[in-house]
């Protein structure tokens, strides 16, 4: 018999996650009149958003007066290889400038143009300089500014270092969540009228990643188990430039801002190889293109000594580099003992972002489970097959606000939270506590590490059927072993990372399975999903999104037709892109 939860918290809107989307969503829900509880796995202000470096894309037109929402929309669709949810891309392009200016009025500080307006830097695959930024720590600025507003919003409570294990539902409506506090391991039952998922991505299922330990795909896992549909799970972005050497730092992000500020990519022969892959946009091509280019150069034997490419900014003055890219300068000096004002960096692709996630309504972030909303990286649709740099910070603000408002409105329209199904709660409690009762179970650390090997090996930058099928087999086998895993050692409840890791594994396995299943289904190459056995875009697939859902027979993936673009928006794209290549149109 599982133990009953010790503590119950009642709230109108429960926000899970306190990165940019979660905080913006919480503020929006509170402004719409709801009592809000925010829970986060770490301390407040440590969310993965702080690592975003380059900036926030918004067509403010401060640097390039020709910029417009239409151009931003078209860039986003083109980057996403046209399978984006076009309505999300439209809303995002139209509302991002407003959200950036609002953030400034909440105290965020950006670099300025000579006229004193917000400065905007060029970035990969954005037609115009478009990224509002402050040095190379724009994500931190966003988090601190929102944090300031959040902690001064009386209707909001923040519970730090609390992890959700399961969502609870009742008749297809979300009713609450079972969670545990990391510090002492006590269980908490949250009862809420509406829940907003803002849990970020699942980059930790790979070995080489720019993501923090938190990015274990909790939200996609929770939503899937609660009956929500996932979408586009095959699209995982490799950021072209992660650190390569020394091994201890492999995967840590090297901001695209380096290329935005003029950094050049070279192979070991000294050639600017991007000429071969995208002569027009060169280093500032889309991320998927640059990542594959570096990959190809390495495979062709033209890589740098540790299997990457050289990224060189030494032609800029040391002062310029230190002021525009201060944390990159510091990071390389300290961790790699490389002075980037004097020597080139060595870089290689690293896992960075989940385009896939929970399928949501464009206007509200609502999922197909009543009362459950999602925003930010955990949601899918805006970025299609490949995200442009700078579009994620603006995504967090635009859709965090919308989903927070919608969750607030939902809570307002429903007098109370749905009843808790005691059997569901008992099962959830049982699963959560089970690893503590298996002193001799497999070590969760070992399972996690094996899972990371499997994803890295079988779902790499270029995929093929055989490897994907093998990978899926292995993930399923790991899933079986994880059902019996323990904590790897002592079974105390107080701050026991072995136990926490066993929980994190659960969501990671769902994400990995969905990734392999979807990647097998999509028999073409599009954006971040590249296959050697289907190397080309296939026009038929441009109309299809893959949906992953839980069925009585386990996980199922099926294709659904996406909504066709309305005529006006098709026009916007063709107007805006005289330079459109045939490959990109198909």
């Amino acid at each position: 018999m599982a133990e009953a939860p010790r503590e119950t918290v009642e709230t109108d809107v429960l926000v899970i996650g306190a990165g940019g989307a979660g905080m913006r969503g919480a503020v929006a829900a509170a402004l719409s009149g709801a009592r809000v509880t925010v829970i986060c796995k770490s301390l407040l202000g440590k969310a993965h958003t702080v690592m975003a470096e380059g900036g926030m894309a918004a067509a403010l037109g401060n640097v390039a007066h020709l910029d417009s929402w239409e151009a931003h929309f078209a860039d986003t669709m083109k980057g996403g290889k046209l399978i984006n949810n076009w309505r999300m891309a439209e809303i995002h392009a139209k509302e991002a400038p407003e959200r950036v200016l609002e953030l400034e009025r909440w105290g965020a500080v950006f670099d300025r143009t000579r006229d004193g307006l917000i400065h905007q830097r060029p970035f990969g695959a954005h037609t115009y300089p478009r990224l509002a930024h402050i040095g190379d720590r724009t994500g931190l600025e966003l988090i601190r500014s929102l944090q300031d507003v959040l902690v001064h919003t009386p209707a909001v409570d923040v519970h730090m270092e609390v992890t959700v294990a399961s969502l609870l539902t009742s008749d297809g409506r979300v009713a609450g969540a079972l969670a545990y506090a990391r510090a002492d391991g006590r269980l908490i039952l949250y009862r809420a009228r509406a829940i907003l998922l803002a849990t970020g991505g699942a980059g930790k299922i790979y070995r080489i990643t720019s993501n923090s330990w938190e990015s274990t795909g909790d939200g996609t896992g929770l939503a899937y188990e609660a009956g929500a549909q996932l979408q586009d799970m095959e699209f995982v972005q490799f950021h072209p430039t992660g650190m390569v050497w020394p091994p201890g730092v492999r995967g840590i992000l090297v901001t695209e801002g380096v290329r935005g500020e003029g950094g050049l990519l070279r192979n070991k022969e000294g050639d600017r190889f991007m000429e071969k892959y995208d002569p027009e946009r060169m280093e500032l091509s889309a991320r998927d293109v640059v990542a594959r280019a570096i990959n190809s150069e390495v495979l062709a034997g033209r890589g740098s000594p540790h299997g990457g490419a050289f990224l060189d900014i030494t032609h800029r003055s040391p002062d310029f580099i230190k002021s525009k890219l201060p944390s990159m300068y510091e990071q390389f000096l300290k961790l790699a003992k490389v002075d980037i004002t004097k020597e080139p960096m060595e870089v290689a692709p690293t896992i960075h972002y989940y385009m896939g996630g929970v399928r949501v309504d464009a206007e509200t972030g609502a999922t197909n489970v009543s009362g459950l909303f999602a925003a930010g990286e955990v949601a899918s649709g805006l970025h299609g097959a490949n995200r442009l740099g700078g579009n994620s910070l603006s995504d967090l603000l635009v859709f965090g606000k919308r989903a927070g408002e919608a969750a607030g409105a939902f809570a307002g329209a429903h007098g109370g939270s749905a009843p808790i199904d005691s059997r569901q709660l008992e099962q959830a409690t049982e699963r959560l506590l089970a690893p503590l009762r298996r002193p001799h179970g497999d070590s969760p650390y070992r399972l996690m590490s094996e899972l990371q090997e499997v994803c890295t090996k079988y779902a790499p930058i270029i995929r093929e059927e055989k490897g994907l099928r093998e990978g899926l087999e292995k993930v399923l086998e790991l899933g079986g072993r994880a059902q019996l895993c323990g904590t790897g050692g002592p079974n105390g409840r107080a701050f026991n990372p072995g136990w926490h890791t066993a929980q994190d594994l659960h969501g990671m396995l769902i994400n990995a399975e969905a990734l392999f299943r979807s990647a097998i289904e999509r028999k073409e190459s599009r954006g971040a999903h590249a296959r050697s056995d289907y190397p080309r875009l296939d026009a038929r697939w441009a109309e299809l999104n893959l949906i992953t859902e839980k069925t009585p027979d386990g996980m199922a993936v099926r294709a659904v037709e996406n909504k066709p673009l309305p005529y006006e928006l098709t026009e916007v794209i063709s107007q805006s892109f005289k330079r459109y290549t045939p490959e990109e149109i198909s």
Binding site: S42, D111, R112, G116, R137, D148, S327, F495
Partner: protein, 265 residues
Amino acid sequence: MARASTGDHVQQLRMSVFRGDASEGEMITYDVPVREGMVVLDAVLWVQANLAPDLAVRWNCKAAKCGSCSAEINGFPRLMCKSPVSDYGAELSVRPMRTFPIIRDLVTDVSWNYEVNKRIPKFTPSEKDAFDPQPWRMQQEDVDRITEFRKCIECFLCQDVCHVLRDHDRKDAFFGPRFMIRIAGLEMHPKDSLDRRPLLKNEAGVGMCNITKCCTEVCPEHIHITDNGIIPLKERVADLYFDPVRALGRRLRGGGREPDRGRSR
């Protein structure tokens, strides 16, 4: 002992780590195989994955950007993810920050800092600015003055090392260096309209700081906490309370009273 950062690499590291909680604990030694470029956090996580699965430690980014992995390495407050083991030689010790209560192993209860933060009135533009339909204009040099303060990653190492908090435990009387620069960032924001000098003088206790600069020394973001933050704040407070010419000026303008906390300038 120390084969320092000369580039030659020790194969094995003897690392002793504090294990225990608020009531009791001890240093336990682990042997860790060293990889090139390994940082102390890697070593701790290696121990966690291989020898002590319940070793409690906070970390997020492993890139010196989130400020989660603060600890005392050989007695010095540092970010573990930014401290190459090659800087230390074949032996090192890792303890939790001393200024905060221990939860477990390397994890401390830093919630006091979050409570302090709530007591600092948030960024507040003037009514005119707040409703200005035009986008704000600010000059880069004004922005530059405060970006330094806004670089803070809330690692609380400065709080850990400040003797007012560490040795005298005056958390009741002093907000600590981290929140001095938080206030500095707000006070020097070109669009902020509040006056936090009364707060600084009273609750925040800027007078408790006697400019030892220990905080500045440990700041991983190289923020000049004392020179650029605390000293100018002290001057502002002194201006307000002790400058006879200013005080006279205020009286002539009909002011005279101490401004209330949070009142408009």
